[in-house]
Amino acid sequence: MKVTLWGTRGSLASPGPDTVRYGGNTSCVSVEGPEGTLLVLDAGTGIRVLGKSISSGLKSVHILLTHLHMDHLQGLPFFEPLRIPGVEVHIWGPASTTQNLEARLMRYLSPPLFPVRVRDLLSELHFHEVSANTMRIGEFCVTAQLIIHPNPTVGYRIWTSHAAIAYLPDHEPALGADDFPHSKEWTSGYALAQEVDVLIHDSQYTTDEYQTRRGFGHSSIIHTLLFAGLVGAKELVPFHHDPAHNDDVLDQLITQGIEAVQPSFPVTPGKEGLTINIG
């Protein structure tokens, strides 16, 4: 499978000369299977450029939303395949306890927040709710599971017989766990990320920043490295960078984290445009 990062920023798009290397677009990752199935993980602002790069012969695409925070959703109406008649677009994501996925999405995709309504989109839209299930999408198996982040949020494990990745862009496994990483059994996200070839994981904060932002739903780079070690990931891609961290700060943060934790696996900084071929 081919994994490409189209948006790596957390919380708010952050374009500018200081963020050109890591990128300023918010969360979006594409996963292409050997038989041509296209999965899009989250619909942050990075999805716009992905949409432009897709060939005109596209018949169907699956967008897997982890949750409906704006940084994971804002690019959705700018995804070109949604405007092409006949293209099947499947949107997967968590419901809330009182509203289904479509109703939750319509709160953003309707005036006054956005001028175009869901029903005005030209593609064939299908909504699928996930919370804790495994589904078959083309040549992929995809497991969704709730993870620690405010409002219902899932992470995804995507695998074939040859390779597995886990995508947990917004995740605070250290919340409430004074001695993190505590144990495999009692760690949020463990089952999703266990021994994956590539783990794409939230690394929004420095250790100092985390102290004042407990409960916001994100991890420090040290937590991310410890989590990746606990789950036995074969490669870590730190992701969902804080808008206040420019390229130089991110270089430093990741280098210092690696020096402190001495991971036994490679760490590939999550930069916009990065492509990884697995399996």
Partner: protein
């Protein structure tokens, strides 16, 4: 051991930070976790015992009603919460591992996650001052 459900992990984190005794059981009543204040009531430590099957931990106490009659397991709040998925409350007496007789109030409620996933139950104990 597979990973616990996220709601159960969060419940444990909350219990670790609270001062009331709390028990967390899985859908079949096996004791998954109890916090430090619960260790005082039980008379042993979670780090030493780990999780316990329902049969084992339910016999640790000898629950009796205010008139001294043994309580049937089906009358215990945690059993009601797991078998009927319904909240329950009761006042009764127990004898812990230390042999002391204690009067307690117990409130138990089922844990039901999104998509109607039944995840187990939580019981909170109050020791009634003598």
């Amino acid at each position: 051991m597979p990973q616990q459900e996220i709601e159960v992990i969060l419940a444990r984190h909350l219990a670790e930070h609270l001062a009331m005794p709390i028990f967390i059981v899985n859908p079949t009543g096996d004791l998954l976790y109890y916090n430090e204040p619960a260790e005082v009531v039980l008379g042993f430590h979670f780090d030493e015992t780990g999780p316990m099957p329902a049969k084992e931990w339910a016999t640790v106490f000898q629950p009796v009603d205010p008139s001294g009659q043994p309580l049937l397991p089906d009358d215990l709040p945690l059993v009601i919460a797991t078998t009927h998925r319904y909240p329950a409350h009761k006042n009764f007496w127990i004898k812990g591992m230390d042999g002391a007789l204690r009067q307690i109030e117990v409130t138990a409620f089922p844990l039901i996650g999104q998509a109607d996933r039944f995840l187990g139950a939580i019981a909170i104990f109050w020791e009634v001052p003598a």
